[in-house]
Symmetry: none
Subunit: 353 residues, 2 copies
């Protein structure tokens, strides 16, 4: 079952049976190195998470490390869910976007788009992103993107990405406190608050929108805002496969539209996330979506790990991991194409044997 968060089900139903390309936006921010800020990966090797996620969804193995990235509590990466869907009902193509990685995925035969974007610095010291440049690279990419499928599923892998998203939304003036998700069950609010205070101290009074993004954002947020705007008039439906980070991308789009007084057709865009995000009590994605001036269809896949006994997977249902690597969008894609919760569960389990 696909459930509606905002809007109605017509848009997502119109994509039933159609073919999708999966685009994974990968980026590193040194914010992830702040102790206790994220559990999206292996301590000391958090910067490898997007690299390993990309390798695993593309070819089913990780080359840049021995084992699949697990969090300290043993929660396996949501890339397992995305890969399971790709095995059960493949995406037409997987494209990889290097938006500033420490280590590039080791893959042949897959399109790995590079943009000359560097990993961003910790927002505690200022992210130091050439935001306008990243944004314009995304516009150009969107305008030249050639696809042979019917729609795009856009996923992300950015350790500490919910922290930079929260910082960005707050810095852009949204009432976003307590509305952003976390890779932890118990959102580490105290640590985040201290980080945010230091980050905001670096924003000047005369800073404009892109100045602010340069200081507290991450490359994925800025690039995807450009991608969405660049795909306007391309008549190409796009699923933002993610949780509150993708909601932040839309909040950035919203501010850009307010600044430029631009017209925007949001009817071909939807956000698709997991049940773990949609039902998360420590965040509020619906409220974030409703802060935009434009309407938006948003959905979640009614999938959980209630059919498994595997303790590492059951941690998802306890809130220890919620979203990432396009898992929510991949689940929606699976459900749109007749794949069952049982099939997905068994396939994910098969990776952990």
């Amino acid at each position: 079952m696909i459930k509606t968060i905002t809007g109605n089900k017509d848009f997502i139903e119109s994509l039933r049976g159609k073919r999708a390309d999966f685009l994974l936006c990968m980026s590193n921010t040194k914010t992830a190195e702040i102790p206790g800020i994220t559990q999206a990966g292996i301590p000391g090797l958090l910067h490898l998470t997007p690299t390993l996620d990309a390798e695993f969804i593309a070819i089913g193995e990780v080359r840049s490390l021995g084992n699949i990235a697990e969090t300290p509590k043993g929660v396996p990466t949501p890339a397992l869910i995305t890969r399971a869907v790709h095995l059960l009902h493949p995406f037409h193509q997987i494209d990889l976007l290097n938006l500033g990685l420490e280590v590039s995925p080791k893959l042949e035969h897959f399109r790995l788009h590079t943009f000359g974007i560097s990993p961003s610095d910790s927002i505690e010291r200022g992210a130091n992103i050439p935001a306008k440049e990243v944004f314009e690279k995304a516009i150009a990419f969107a305008q030249n993107l050639t696809l042979q499928s019917d729609y795009i599923i856009l996923g992300e892998s950015v350790p500490a990405g919910t922290t930079t998203a929260l910082a960005t939304a707050l810095a852009l003036g949204y009432d976003a406190q307590d509305k952003f998700s976390s890779s932890f069950k118990n959102n580490p609010s105290d640590i985040k608050r201290a980080v945010l205070e230091r980050a905001f101290s670096r924003i000047g009074n005369s800073d404009d929108l892109f100045d602010i993004l340069s200081v507290v954002g991450d490359n994925m947020l800025i690039f995807n805002a450009g991608l969405i705007l660049g795909l306007q008039n391309r008549n190409l439906p796009i699923l933002l496969a993610g949780g509150t980070q993708m909601a932040c991308v839309l909040l950035i789009v919203n501010r850009i539209l307010q600044m430029t007084e631009g017209k925007f057709d949001s009817s071909k865009i939807a956000l698709c996330t997991t049940k773990w995000v949609a039902e998360d009590r420590s965040s509020d994605i619906k409220a974030l979506l409703e802060m935009n001036d434009f309407p938006l269809n948003a959905y979640y896949a009614d999938f959980d790990f209630s059919l498994t006994d595997h303790p590492a997977l059951r941690l998802y249902d306890q809130g220890e991991a919620k979203e990432g690597v396009g898992a929510g969008g991949a689940l929606v894609y699976a459900l749109l194409n007749g794949i069952t919760k049982e099939q997905i569960t068994r396939k994910v389990e098969s990776f952990l044997r």
Copy 2:
């Protein structure tokens, strides 16, 4: 599961979810009439095997004979596997290539390409093939081929084809003895050896590459070598769906490249075969592939008939039939598209009720 014989898994993973056209190369060589040389068909009617295979994979029934071709021991043609895959996850198109048939398949609405190529004679007496002409027809066909899918799966049905392939590889100077497969569990080495001796006696000292192919080859081997070279620069991935016969095609390509000092990009080509070939102890496809100057990705489908009780199918697992009619490539295609071993087994069983 798709397993790697040579190379790495990246190429085959990049084709997951993509659409394929299936091309069947059909040819007769009178070599098949030598008693005991092959069990790929009905004694006395072996020449009909490619015709019946084509009819069965295209429409699910045979028109040029009452029943599906069975070997003397009752092993059904691997066309059943290819047809099963086509029912479970259809190829985008099936194209049939008449490379010298006694009897053309009786089909409407399918593209049946004809080239004015005659069945070849027995290599015992000299195959009598206009090899250069067949090769050039393949080049022209490749250059004009229009497809609406993402890649090609190239299968073959040539009774006695492993014998002509072995003869060709040896005549071209490869250390190929005992490395070629057979439709029999126990490769009829004595019979083959006598045939080869007579065949080699017809090769003159001054014979060049194409002269040799004219005497000991078969039309499929020569045509497919031309097809592969003609598809260079077309950016069209191609799966050679077969066992040691397809390996021989590559050995021919290798000699042509050595002769012409031509450049060759093998990165868009892979050989895909069955587990029965990959694990066959009386042949060695890996060794054949490694005789080429170019690298090649090769895979096999981890599929066997362990899930069935049907005695005729269990014979495959005992080594009585191993490959043909693109079965290995079709199985890889199925696994690339989420079809399970269980589904394939049940579908093949349904043809034998």
